[in-house]
Symmetry: C2
Amino acid sequence: MKEEIENKPVITKIPTIYGDLWFFGFKFEDEEIVAISNKRKIKNPINLRIHSCCFTSEIFGSLKCDCVQQLNQFMKLMGEDKKNNYLLIYFLNHEGRGIGLLNKLKVYEVQRKLKLDTYEANKYLGFDYDHRNFDKAIYILNYFKIEEITIFSNNPQKVKILKERGFNISIKKFLVRPPSTYALHYLMTKAERGGHFIKEEIRKLIEKNMK
Amino acid sequence: MKEEIENKPVITKIPTIYGDLWFFGFKFEDEEIVAISNKRKIKNPINLRIHSCCFTSEIFGSLKCDCVQQLNQFMKLMGEDKKNNYLLIYFLNHEGRGIGLLNKLKVYEVQRKLKLDTYEANKYLGFDYDHRNFDKAIYILNYFKIEEITIFSNNPQKVKILKERGFNISIKKFLVRPPSTYALHYLMTKAERGGHFIKEEIRKLIEKNMK
């Protein structure tokens, strides 16, 4: 990503339902990535979310996951908390953990027909569980000279990557209200198979739901 | 698009906040397009919306336009009306009327700094007002053997294209509640400069807003 070091982001302020937010558009050779903040000047320490797009829930209202709830919750915090610095790094090309929207629809259909969980269905179709690469988030964090991060995430992989790159990391476990039983079971799968941090919280919600 | 005639869409059913909906993912050489319906079997006559993605409003809550309201309103109708057939054709690569997200952010910044409207700002940056091409919507309509359409749109260009291709078209003017003064003025610009159908309705809303 050498050549992009020269590239400065496109910057503008947009009025949103969460308040006025600053948009930073980064152009990489193979994709565009948007970073959004409540502040024009991005400073340490920062509350960070690295978010992979999920058009099925964020645009089309799918109940199969909790992605849109996580995104909206973080943006709400960002808009409300005038004191602290927030940064959302939004990957526009990470649909279905990087396999793309059409492949994600294939995975959903396999899940539906064969009653598989998300890991099993990906495997059934020959996909790895996670095809994402977060290097460009590191680039963007470096661009903003970020060192101290509170990351809003339940994903141990993201924490590991940031720690390995030398960032000073605190973790904010991030349980939003799951929108459906589908999403609850999806979260439990991620907790059991992917080591996500909120297993106990999810277990309690599932128990409550079954009563 | 000859070769794609052979391609069948990926099909699955997804539970959404609007009810269970059928997703049809079409793969073209240069892009993926999603069609969504309340029915598995797409039949004539059809209530149609051809929608260009607007991630700024649909994902990030921008108040500068009414795209997300139009999309949500159409999907709500689709979910509620069990009797009639609805089809949403969603172009994932049409951000900013086809110029892409980063260029759209540039246009917004020019609008903000120079107090230009959307047409003037696009021109200022050397973009045509509209870079979109709807040929793939025609392909999808033909794939589903659609002939009779009620189109939910205020855009005379979309109506013209469908009429020229021989579809039997009725128009459903589509005024959703604009989310902000920004959006109202954006709508008025589209009405005045692009001939959109709802000029009088918008004028009344602006007058009401100014009282």
